[in-house]
Point group: C2
Chain length 257, copies 2
């Protein structure tokens, strides 16, 4: 066993790919659009899902200014969404995982104003929005849950604002890591052990930090005994401690040992 592999790999969500080809049998039903619907209603929703589409790593699901016609539910894999700032640089606005929706930002507009790119080989369900809107008018439960998902999206973004506006670098990182853990937990995976699906650069971009700062922070977290980090593999050793940093109740020593 090579000494460099410090953390055993976590169960790969990609292995679910072949199992479910419709909403009724999808393991993500509890998180995704069909939540709370009757079986017959799920079937109607299923009926408008034109296509299940594979998106290879690095490929765009949609780009800024693409025409808006569908939203997407992630079935397998991870994505990032981003905008381009006035100087044309990418600014990542979020990372999405299975069961989450993509494209909500374009609702009510005719263009996407952000882009979405797969961080790994992924798979999405395409939901034509015009047809979804019709269903929303006919299935009150679906409308309610759709609004719930939108509300969650708004909440997520407000939390990200809070993070960027008020938190110091170590706190941002702690919030980010505990957040990832919680979302993994909601999907039935371990809260304290997961893979980072994005580059350091992408983490830093999202958190408003440079790549060097990200690297230094992870090292500090490791030295403080909060984490084990090996490349993309993260193991949270002291979840309570990490949460304390995330809550701003505790700061990390700046120097080594």
């Amino acid at each position: 066993m090579p000494a460099t592999i410090a953390i055993p790999p976590v169960r790969d969500s990609a292995c679910q790919a072949a199992e479910a080809v419709n909403c009724a049998r999808c393991a993500l039903q509890k998180l995704c659009l069909p939540t709370g619907l009757q079986a017959a209603e799920v079937q109607r929703l299923d009926g408008i899902i034109a296509h299940r589409r594979k998106v290879p790593r690095g490929a765009s699901l949609y780009r800024m200014n693409d025409a808006f016609s569908r939203i997407y539910a992630i079935r397998v894999g991870h994505f990032k969404t981003y905008q381009l700032n006035p100087r044309g640089e990418q600014q990542i606005s979020g990372f999405q995982m299975p069961g989450e929706l993509l494209g909500l930002d374009a609702i009510g507009a005719d263009q996407h104003h952000c882009g979405a790119t797969a961080l790994e080989d992924s798979e999405v369900c395409e939901v034509p929005f015009a047809q979804l809107e019709l269903l929303l008018g006919e299935i009150p439960q679906l409308l309610r849950h759709f609004h719930r998902l939108i509300g969650q999206e708004l909440t997520r973004e407000q939390n990200a604002m809070l993070l960027l506006a008020t938190m110091r670098a170590d706190q941002r990182m702690a919030v980010f890591l505990t957040g990832l853990g919680a979302r993994h937990a909601a999907r039935g995976y371990a809260e304290h052990r997961f893979q980072l699906r994005m580059l350091r650069e992408e983490m830093g971009n999202y958190l408003g930090l440079t790549i060097e700062s990200v690297s230094r922070l992870l090292s500090r977290f490791r030295r403080s005994g909060l984490l084990r980090v090996h490349n993309r593999d993260v193991e949270i050793l002291d979840l309570a401690g990490l949460r304390a940093v995330a809550a701003g109740q505790q700061s990390l020593p700046r120097s080594a040992t």
Copy 2:
């Protein structure tokens, strides 16, 4: 004429208060919920608006964790929305003006997770959300426009994230001021002359800056000939220049003349 009043006061939006008591006659129809509806549909919408409520300056329209039952359309005045971070400090997530909706963040939840406070004596239309949801199912045009408003909200928040994550202090301030101007313009007021309805502290809080930084930035902008600032009154003297700073194409000299 006292020499200290450098900038003449702008037209006060509060004088509209007494005119319109229903959507059909409201000057904000083009911005607010009824946009694009038939007269009869506007009347139905009007029918569910239980109450038009005055909110005195400094009073809360709703607070964090209040039960969610209505959204609000601002008829007169200005508001701020805020969250409390883990340490209990206020973090302002946005400023709202007439024709904009409040409470959308709580959609699909049963509690508000942010609070809204009037920055001046204000007036809102209360829209019971359960009844609105019924109407959304019956009036497709209303559903479409409601989603448009939600999309705008998401866009606004993403732009705020972009601001906080990537921009330097002078750029943030320039984006903020040009944004305020544009929103005033959308309401038929001057783009280049308006009143700040919030304290320096609230601006700084929103922009992720200290009150001292805000003050210094406004002084720098003034010295550079971009603005005239006198207390809450702002006049943009060089809109193109301010936009250039907002776009990050130009930076401001740090020291004085």
